[in-house]
Amino acid sequence: MTADLFSDFQQDHFALFGLPRRFALDGAALDTLWRSAAAQVHPDRFASAGDAEKRIALMAATRVNEAYQTLKSPLARARYLLRLAGIDTAEETNTSMPPAFLMAQMEWREAIEDARHGHDVDALERLSRQLRLDVRAMEDELGEALDEQHDHASAALLVRKLRFLEKLDQEIGDAIEALLF
């Protein structure tokens, strides 16, 4: 029975939405595709159906949401593309980074620390905006590496770097919340 259960769901996330397997992605198009898929399978559509259909709908809606959330986030999308290519991004184990990047990280941390101690929410918001610009620039590089140069090693390094930036963004968010709450 499970053999043909979601035969089409064995596809990768890109194939599920009929999108080409690449980093560059039209976010608005993905949103539209997700909404139309979600509309078909959302458990609300099966609230008065039998248990079997309810169960299947929950699985299918979960699957569609997982695919969407993976593709929506550039970092998750890049990590997923690399995984499909058989590359482990080794974010937990491989922590060696270029010295310049590490230096920049320390400067970021100090700036966040200063703003936190100064109870300066506006400064933290500014840092957050600046960081998001940096993230965007790095995502462009990631697109180059994955779609144009097909350079998996560089892409994996960029994923690790972006993971660092994501953590910084989280720290800024936590600091803002700690000051506000």
Binding site: D4, L19, Q40, A49, E53, A60
Partner: protein, 619 residues
């Protein structure tokens, strides 16, 4: 855009009798029940024409339980046995309740959730809430002239898993079939959006009696997508009453009041708050038990000054939600005000100032949540509405696990669209380790002690291996009610352990069944007849749904599969004709199993139909 057409999988092919379904707003201060009648959502009033039911339950010395206005009127006389604002205690342990001293109740700490000591015995907040829900169910059944097929119950968006589960338990205890738990701001957005044809990014600011929620939603044609939600599950209109109460104590130099006097002055405080919504000042008078007379004048200006910090406190979650949604206050097209407490002019002004635009107050803030819930209930019950829409909601708080060193590892981040599942692999850290304990947490903080503990369970029977060799996959699944189920599986041996996240605080199914049988109201209802009717209704809708499915997608089955399905359907029809609850349930179960592959293939086909021909180039 023809591909966007939505099939109606649960709907019957034959014209069906309107299925009675209601939306219930189970509020801290007031509760309401609403339904859709002739296409329009409407609140069902009581026999005196009153829409609101005060969420007050009194356990009287004659053994009767009374709910609503009558109980509210008697609360000063019998404060210990008259439970108000019980919603604040749902799914909470004694340690969670910040204002134990402020309540006139005696609490006992029970596993996971407090209980209140009343003359009717120890009452769990679930039972007290069930008494409120039962009253609303009876009101609805009397008014609609039939049994309800189900109800949508609203919960604050910021309710955690424990509070949601407690609410669902209360509904089941009240004899309600829960079609869905729906977040209050989302319910309000449905009522507002469908009424106004709204498009764009909206914020729902929902300040109720005891809870505050804020949700950021993207409204596009037919889709209500929650982008982010935040709030404070112990902040509401009650706190404004309490500020006035404290002011009275200070002005009159009172301290060490009895439960009776406390309740009396809290009532006067609430009345003063309501008066100040329309008047520049108000007079507060009361005669205490010892004969002392209170006579004070409170102005709007003073009230605003003493309640300002409460309003500021609501703006913090607003900022957090905007940040999570990655938008600024200027991107918001409208702010919908929900909850009776948003009637206070100083609240409207603060929200207007924050967003730089006057908030939308054209819907009754007391009713909008119940109306939205009724609209959703109508659709979930299978009554076709004029519009089809899709609701995409999120979880309000991150879900995670305890890892080494008392730290939390987040598995599902807050504001993830539900339903959602995430798996994480863990391994053993000792040679020969045969068990692994899993501690499930909810919250944003890094330390386990700062998060809410939802459940603990142990995966046993892992075959002894060297440290680090076992691969234990822990899967979190959050359903469309926002409720979590967790499974852990050792991938090499296949040993599995799973848990519905409730035993550490909720009621077990057995307990609910026992409470149901204990309940006098239900004995009178005749449990057996009710069970038969429920089984028949469920079986009928299962058969109807399959008939519709076969009419459109029978080609997905080969002859043998079709024959097996037909046989199982006939068996169920025979069981219905024989009116045997046991056989109906057994045959329904068998039919459900037999139709699972068919359901899966249809689901595939539906997705493919929706997406075929749609790719980046054609959009």
């Amino acid at each position: 855009m023809a591909l966007l057409q939505i099939t109606e999988p649960g709907l019957s092919a034959a014209p069906h009798q309107h299925r009675l379904a209601v939306g219930i707003d189970l509020g801290t201060t007031n509760s309401l029940v609403a339904t859709v009648k002739s296409g329009a959502a409407t609140v069902l009033p009581d026999e005196h024409g009153r829409s609101l039911l005060p969420s007050v339950v009194r356990y009287r010395d004659d053994g009767r339980t009374i709910v609503g206005f009558e109980a509210q009127a008697e609360q000063s006389r019998d404060p210990n046995n008259t439970i108000v604002s019980v919603k604040r205690f749902m799914g909470r342990g004694l340690a969670d309740i910040q204002d134990v001293g402020r309540s006139p109740y005696r609490f006992v700490d029970a596993p996971g959730m407090v209980q209140l000591v009343t003359r009717a015995g120890h009452k769990s907040p679930v039972e007290v809430s069930a008494d409120i829900l039962k009253n609303l169910r009876e009101r609805a059944e009397a008014s609609l002239g039939g049994e309800l097929i189900g109800a949508v119950i609203t919960v604050p968006a910021y309710f955690d898993d424990a509070q949601r589960q407690a609410t669902k338990d209360a509904a089941r205890l009240a004899g309600l079939n829960v079609l869905r738990l729906l977040n209050e701001p989302t319910a309000a957005a449905i009522a507002y959006g469908l009424d106004n044809g709204a498009e764009g990014t909206y914020v729902v600011y929902d300040l109720g009696g005891g809870t505050f929620d804020v949700s950021v939603l993207a409204l596009t044609r037919g889709v209500f997508e929650v982008l982010a939600t935040s709030g404070d599950s112990s902040l509401g209109g009650d706190d404004f009453d309490h500020r006035i109460y404290c002011w009275i104590l200070e002005q009159a130099g009172l301290h060490g009041l009895s439960a009776h006097d406390t309740r009396l002055l809290l009532t006067r405080a609430r009345e003063a708050k309501e008066a100040l919504t329309e008047h520049a000042d108000t007079r507060i008078t009361a005669v205490l038990a010892d004969g002392q007379t209170i006579d004070l004048q409170l102005s709007q200006t003073t009230f605003h000054a003493i309640s300002k910090t409460l309003i500021d406190k609501t703006l913090l979650p607003v900022r957090k939600a905007l940040r999570d949604a990655r938008i600024g206050a200027g991107d918001v097209k409208g702010v919908v005000m929900v909850g009776g407490a948003t009637r206070m002019p100083q609240v409207q002004k603060a929200v207007g100032d924050f967003f730089g635009r006057p908030p939308l107050t054209n819907l009754d803030p007391d009713k909008v949540v119940a109306l939205g819930a009724a609209i959703q209930a109508n659709v979930l019950a299978g009554n076709k509405g004029d519009d089809e829409w899709l609701l995409l909601d999120v979880i309000p708080l991150s879900l995670g696990l305890e890892t080494m060193g008392g730290l939390t590892e987040k598995i599902i981040p807050r504001n993830s669209t539900i339903p959602i599942a995430r798996a994480q692999e863990f391994t053993t850290f000792k040679d020969g380790q045969t068990a692994l304990s899993v501690h499930i947490l909810q919250g944003e903080r890094e330390l386990v002690s700062d998060c809410r503990s939802l459940a603990k369970f142990v995966l046993r029977g892992i075959p002894p291996m060297v440290a680090g060799a076992a691969r234990i996959r822990v899967t979190f699944q959050v359903d469309a009610d926002g409720l979590l189920a967790v499974t852990a599986r050792e991938m090499i041996s296949g040993v599995e352990a799973s848990i519905e996240v409730k035993p550490s605080y909720g009621l077990s199914d057995d307990e609910i069944t026992r409470m149901l049988s204990d309940s006098i109201a239900h004995v009178a209802d005749d449990i057996n007849a009710r069970k038969l009717r429920e089984a028949m209704v469920d079986a009928d809708s299962l058969l109807d749904a399959l008939d519709v499915a076969l009419a459109s997608d029978a080609d997905l089955l080969d002859d043998a599969e079709r024959a097996a399905l037909d046989e199982a359907m006939q068996a169920l029809r025979d069981a219905i004709a024989a009116e045997s609850t046991k056989d109906i349930n057994a045959c329904s179960h068998r039919l459900n199993q037999a139709s699972e592959p068919f359901a899966a293939r249809r689901m595939d086909r539906n997705i493919q139909r929706a997406l075929t021909g749609k790719n980046i180039e054609t959009l």
